[in-house]
Symmetry: C2
Subunit: 331 residues, 2 copies
């Protein structure tokens, strides 16, 4: 197996670019004037945006911190870096369009890593309706992958910020909560079983599937605030409360763990499935606030309300603590 270092940077970049090109050749949109391979990508932005605003974000995955190679294939990592960037685009109410990828990798790494990574990036780009438009490869002691995503807002539409939540708004979520955390716990426990529901939780950790379409739908429905749950429901809701100067009061009844999370917690012992739902990260669900007088997109399920008060996130009117007894306390 050739090692990255034996290829040299130009050859490695060429291999990665070839991977992107072979996948994108048939699907490259007309607005991508120049794709990977020159000093920069060129985008006919008037054709892409049709007068709408451009949305841009960047996010990094670090080996050992954000993924482990024996838990995640390079393709999984590609899916993940694309998904977490595109989720940020969707959380502004925009539609993903472009991904740029910078890969820092040890010279001892298997050169197939880059090819497989490109596969995963491409897969998630297709799901999101986006394309890899450029990249960069450099040498480092550990693998560090940075994605930068560009997206577009519908013409005339404003981005949905964290700061617009108003007392009286409904709090709702599109996508799933706690599945990535449960999958992580199963992997950490060394789960080797064949229960399809447990394998699905592991897959949810390895390949998050943010509900991209729900972002622009929320913006179209006049959402007052939105964020994606990259760090867990309570932590990300806290960011909305801080930016908006409001209280978010969550309803525990709407956040009851589904059967598969209950089952995973039974298998693993000493895990609280409700804590997965409330604090598990990396689901990249979309958490949004809506005027109760207006219709919400079908993807958004009500989980609480916005109240006046010193910024805080409450559960059934009380602060949540990680004390596993909280359910008893609250029931």
């Amino acid at each position: 197996v050739p090692r990255v270092g034996s290829l040299g940077e130009d050859a490695l970049v060429a291999a990665v670019i070839a991977g992107f090109r072979s996948r994108s050749a048939q699907t490259a949109p007309a607005w991508l004037t120049v794709g990977p391979g020159d000093d920069a990508a060129v985008i006919d932005i008037a054709a892409l945006s049709a007068g709408g605003s451009l949305v841009a974000t960047t996010d990094t995955l670090v080996e050992g911190q954000d993924f482990r190679q024996h838990w995640s294939s390079p393709a999984d990592v590609g899916v993940k870096v694309a998904a977490q960037n595109f989720a940020d685009i969707a959380a502004m109410g925009a539609t993903p369009a472009v991904l740029l990828v910078s890969l820092a990798i040890p010279s001892s790494a298997d050169s197939a890593f880059a090819e497989s990574l490109a596969e995963g990036l491409d897969e998630e780009c297709r799901r999101a309706g986006a394309i890899v438009a450029g990249g960069d490869v450099s040498e480092a002691d550990a693998i560090v992958i940075t994605g930068t995503a560009l997206g577009v807002l519908a013409p005339g539409r404003s981005a949905v910020l964290r700061s617009g939540a108003r007392p009286g708004d409904v709090v709702a979520v599109a996508g799933t909560l706690g599945r990535s955390a449960a999958g992580w716990a199963l992997l950490e426990h060394g789960y080797r079983g064949t229960d399809g529901r447990m394998r699905d939780l592991i897959a949810a950790h390895q390949r998050p599937q943010p509900p991209y379409e729900a972002g622009p739908a929320a913006a179209a429905a006049g959402a007052s605030a939105m964020i994606d749950t990259s760090d867990g429901l309570i932590r990300d809701a806290t960011r909305i409360t801080a930016a908006s100067g409001v209280v978010i009061d969550l309803d525990s009844a709407a956040l009851a763990p589904p059967a598969d999370l209950e089952r995973a917690a039974e298998l693993l012992k000493e895990h609280d499935p409700a804590a997965w739902v409330l604090t598990g990260g990396e689901d990249h669900a979309l958490l949004a606030c809506f005027d109760p007088a207006r219709d919400r997109p079908a993807a958004f399920v009500r989980i609480g309300q916005v109240r006046d008060g010193k910024p805080a996130v409450l559960l059934d009117g009380r602060p949540w603590t990680s004390d596993p007894g909280w359910r008893h306390f609250n029931s």
Copy 2:
């Protein structure tokens, strides 16, 4: 001194963002609708681009590979990551506008690193006429900084690619060659002298100063091909020859090392100042090809010509080798 790890990610991100905000508050352009602090930046791209194309690139600096902390201050590193990204924008013929920055940093790092980095980013953004619009911070064992730059082409103008050079074109360069390599050699040698010319060479390594304006000027003058010299004149010229299917023949007389490089080579011994000029990287000069019948922008100095033939870079009609005797061979 607080350590990064003691701050927590939110506090660190807040500190970095505050650094960007305090510097950008007075100068944020009207087209930057949402700057750092939400899930993504929002850009009124119609106002920014006025119908011209968007250009996007990403590039990474890795501690130990691309910079050393005892040779480069965090502000130097900030200048460098901005400069190498903006140079790629300029090399397409575009004008830099936006920088996104992703910082991976050990939790043991001094938290002042991020603030000082932001200072350097801001300084180079000002020089380039751009602004930091967003960022991301994560934890890693070594410092890895990825910049993503966005720029715009003048309305109706096409990007200048690597692939457009034609036999008969003049080859010309804007900016300096070999100064970064000479500065690096002085640092490696532990130069502690006070010769202002030597200090300037060291500064050229620590804070490259690409001639950004020359990029759009070359595009306006109809440049047929362009690249920035991030990996050295010969290596980057080779990329033009490969993409264009031509020979580039450089004139040694036009590439004679200036007096300060000769002086540095004398000081250090066993260094060939001509090799710095021909192969030294990180100057981020702009190398471009022009129709000889048309006027070139004043910043571009003629250093050779494009010929027909199997893609290669020659010096005075012959392949260059690193043999220090090449000058005798060629004179």
